[in-house]
Symmetry: D2
Subunit: 343 residues, 4 copies
């Protein structure tokens, strides 16, 4: 049975998922698309040779009975409305981050899903599908390093664009660590502090870069996360979990080693798009497979809500310089089981 | 357009490709299968939920007009006949190694393909699709290390089974290096010598293990290949190319690093099936995509022939202890272009 | 000219330096020793076959005209008095850390040295002589990584003894980082905060372990230092300097690599005494050589004072949980030049 | 007791050992020197501020009763005569490699030492004192990798001088591996074959470079040794021992790691003088200490003889292209015990 997928938003990431589903993955096809720019949507249909109808908007697309699932890949502010509409239509929905631009918006989606009575939503936190993080989680779950005590991580980009602002270090960059770290150690966050080291000369005048975010979890794990979006030397994701009995560390991306001109080394990726390319494939394949089983298991709407609440507290800590609380609602029963790791 | 694939031979590797095509890859489906054991073939159809017909033999399967390509995954001695039949039927055919059990058999396939006038055959040398070897080839092609002068490689397994004999170190084990190394440096082989180090106590009494094979290429590159199939510590594939200006080396498989109990290390795979799992996916996806384009680009029947001739010389050198010549026919025009690297 | 050295305090570290000077280093001999336990001192003289006189106390030893330099290797609380007496006697003096047990005591030594008008004192911060730190400093000084912005470091021991208390994480353990990091980046400290991650089950009930110390320098560099004295897996010193253009990291101690039983790894030291054994040799050889040149260049009394003030602020921060200021007196002219790096 | 040392030959390596003994090492002083160039010897005495007499020749120097040991650091062809004279004078003698320029010359020294009845000679094979090789030997001796089966090693220099000839790849370069490998695995050599890979364009026209030397030991261990003296990228010594249960490999020289400009790497030494600098220190200190104990334990005259015989066979194999035998005399009783590893 081939799954028919509708795509809401045919910009860069939408096109990338269309390409992925059409050329790399198994068991699904794109049969419906929509975009605020109808012409652009039509161009995409032709470009990828899709046998797909262009609908005027998300509601029209969601009204199609033969669409089994949708991807929400529009711009962030439009996500909430499309996801709510998908839930109302009873469709499975994969939504790129952010699930909604506010914690309240995320909570509305959670509530809608609870009313529906069954998980329909998967949020696009692809790192949980990266083989390195999966190995790291297995090591932690198998108690290879004992109880986790600290995490040291870094998220580094060679360069940030002119529109990148200091708060985006949280909402666009750290947001991936915010999701993946609590999944990694099966814990939630309690409080956060942001500290600013000396600013790099490579950062634009309006922004702080690098930043160091210190997060304490409810279980007492202390996370020290560096965000450095003008580090110049490469796109580099580091994560090291320090436990009672040992330390486990994320692998470097696989690279040949070279001995040349007095140096012995491996290559560092320069482009973030290369880093998690296989994780994106696995994420969407998992969504397709789990929709076909009727049992979505990836990052939940609740995970989207937690990320939003945590990011809000981080942004507040950026401004205050103080430790700020991270206060979550009680976790609804719907989300108690069915996490990827328990699958 | 979904490609309809027939599978000739539904044993272990046949089932693995069926699973792959059904669950991981894009653009193809299994519509026909056959096996000397008809019941086993029927079980596989049910097990994987295939919408496929079980045919009594390869000829019946190849007679189906709606089968666009076939996989030959029967046992080795049956390959030649099925591949020749596929060529005669004008079907694209992916054949697991060996293409044929003798160099003469491979040559017959080459001749049949030449008579057909167009490439139809891809041989299952999956290492050319491994991301590490691909990086290595790119580094060599970009002249990062200058002209290659030597290659040091090793093919190590934890343990060999009771039926493994000394010549299988060449025909079953080194055969992968034989194919991938000439592709890597775009060269052909000239002569070979086999030397036996002290035998490990872990090897069975009837066999030599480890073995060191030294191959000289026509371009003068000296390859030193260690085969060690009872090395105990892991499944380990090493390859290092020493050039005029530097050295490039295959990456270790990606692994988290651990600091624990006085050691800092990464894991070594123990099972060969884990090592090239992604290469198998890429290999079959490439076959599907290139068949759909009408332009097969993977390892050719000629590559299968060269591997067979080289393996014969290696086995002769195992017995003689002398340098043995590796004599190839002249390369037919059909195979002059269209290698993967030139694609 | 052989330098005659007197040793004040013949306990463990005193004996180790006596062995070093007698058997490994060049240009000096031990001619005088003293210890509160006179018999123990006599035993040491015999054990090492020294041609040395045992004096009743430091003053008697310092009164000997033929003693060219002294090592103060008594217990910490006795250091200040012996160093002041040595300065008064106009003798060169190498003092193990701490220079004095209080910042005020260190300041008195600084003042005495200023009155004397010339540097006589070297403090036993041996890490400045470790080849890894020396390489790291060279890389920073050569601007290989641009301006330093952050430092991430860790000081880990397998196990702490029963008398180890939480403040000793600063005064006995972090004290080495406190000295070496400001030397590394040629900067001074401004403020400090201490945070406690979840406590390891391996720590005794009376203490906090691990601890994370965050120090801001006057230049804005943010140091995140982990102290973890019951990490179990090994003695491990990590230091990574993140600069505007790249990152430089301390080497792991040199170790053969092993492939064995599914792991590929190197050994981690278990005993701290093995980690800086060559740095101790270089430190004392440098003291001998510089005394003979009349020009002591290692860590100064001022460095000892700075370390004491910084440690005091760290201990205060341990208790308050707040950012605490690190306030130094103005640096006296005597210490403006003559650092090791400028030599 | 300070050991009085005489130095026969005050060229580059002689001066280096004089500097070492005067400034780095413990327990010895230079009291006598000689050189064919008397003026040069006098200059050295002044340059290093030695309290030493310049003698007209080795015999005059060896006649001095207060000289306890000599270093032979003249040019190779003069070694045999000076070592024989030292033995006749009953003096301990450290001789830089080669012990003599022919196997017969080495044998004459062995015979003289046997007649003397006690070991007096230590040969300058410093690698046995390198901490990496020492770790490797310990791992082998502790059976961490089981019985050794193969060794893969490489000796690479960035560039060879205009006077370097193909046979010097053996006599000047491989000679160090020839000594250290048999010590490492406690075995002797049986036969050797030399193979020439494609020549690098960086080698001068009169020479072969690289070369691959394959040596079989009496115990059946197969050694594959690459010599590549124009590898351009660095001075690089590799050694990997493949055993029945695992593999142990020499460490890379300690280096900070850098992340910079898309590369993650460590530095490779460019100058051979930096590689074994600490091994030279340990070697001479061990000579001094063992002379003072009256019990020389480093590489023996017999080791020098074995190296010479082996090198002769390698050179013969360079010319013949065949496997050549390595035939040693029976090992005299004098050399049966007292190896460094048994100390």
């Amino acid at each position: 049975m081939t799954l028919n997928i509708g795509v809401i938003g045919t910009g860069a990431i939408g096109k990338d998922h269309i390409r992925r589903i059409s050329s790399n993955l198994s068991g699904a096809r794109i049969t419906a698309v929509t975009d605020v720019n109808q012409e652009a949507a039509q161009v995409v249909v032709e470009q990828y040779g899709l046998d797909a109808v262009v609908y005027p908007d998300d509601k029209a697309l969601l009204a199609q009975a033969d669409v089994g699932a949708v991807l929400v890949t529009s711009w962030g502010p439009a996500h909430e409305q499309s996801v709510l509409a998908a839930i109302e239509a009873g469709k499975y929905v994969f939504c790129e981050k952010p699930l909604a631009t506010t914690a309240e918006g995320c909570r509305r989606i959670v509530d809608a899903e609870i009313r529906h009575g069954k998980r329909l939503v998967q949020v696009g936190f692809m790192r949980r599908y990266d083989s390195g993080y999966v190995q790291l989680k297995q090591a932690i779950d198998e108690r290879l390093i004992g109880e986790p005590l600290m995490i040291r991580c870094a998220h580094r980009n060679p360069e940030s664009g002119p529109n990148y602002t200091s708060d985006m270090a949280i909402t666009d960059t750290l947001i991936h660590e915010i999701d993946v770290l609590r999944w990694l150690i099966d814990d939630d966050y309690k409080s956060v502090q942001v500290t600013y080291p000396r600013k790099t000369r490579h950062a634009l005048s309006h922004m702080r870069d690098p930043q160091v975010v210190m997060i304490e979890t409810r279980g007492g794990v202390l996370i020290t996360a560096e965000i450095f979006v003008n580090c110049r030397y490469g796109y580099d994701i580091q994560c090291e979990v320090i436990g009672e009995d040992g330390i486990a560390k994320l692998p470097e991306p696989s690279s040949i080693s070279l001995r040349k001109e007095g140096m012995y080394g491996t290559r560092i990726l320069m482009d973030w798009k290369d880093r998690f390319i296989e994780a994106y494939d696995r994420e969407i394949q998992d969504f397709i497979d789990s929709v076909k089983r009727g049992d979505v298991q990836g990052p939940t709407a609740w995970d989207g809500y937690v990320a939003a609440v945590t990011a809000d507290a981080c942004v507040k800590a950026q401004e205050s310089g103080e430790w700020e609380d991270i206060s979550l609602d009680e976790k609804p029963d719907l989300y108690e089981s069915r996490t990827l790791s328990e699958a």
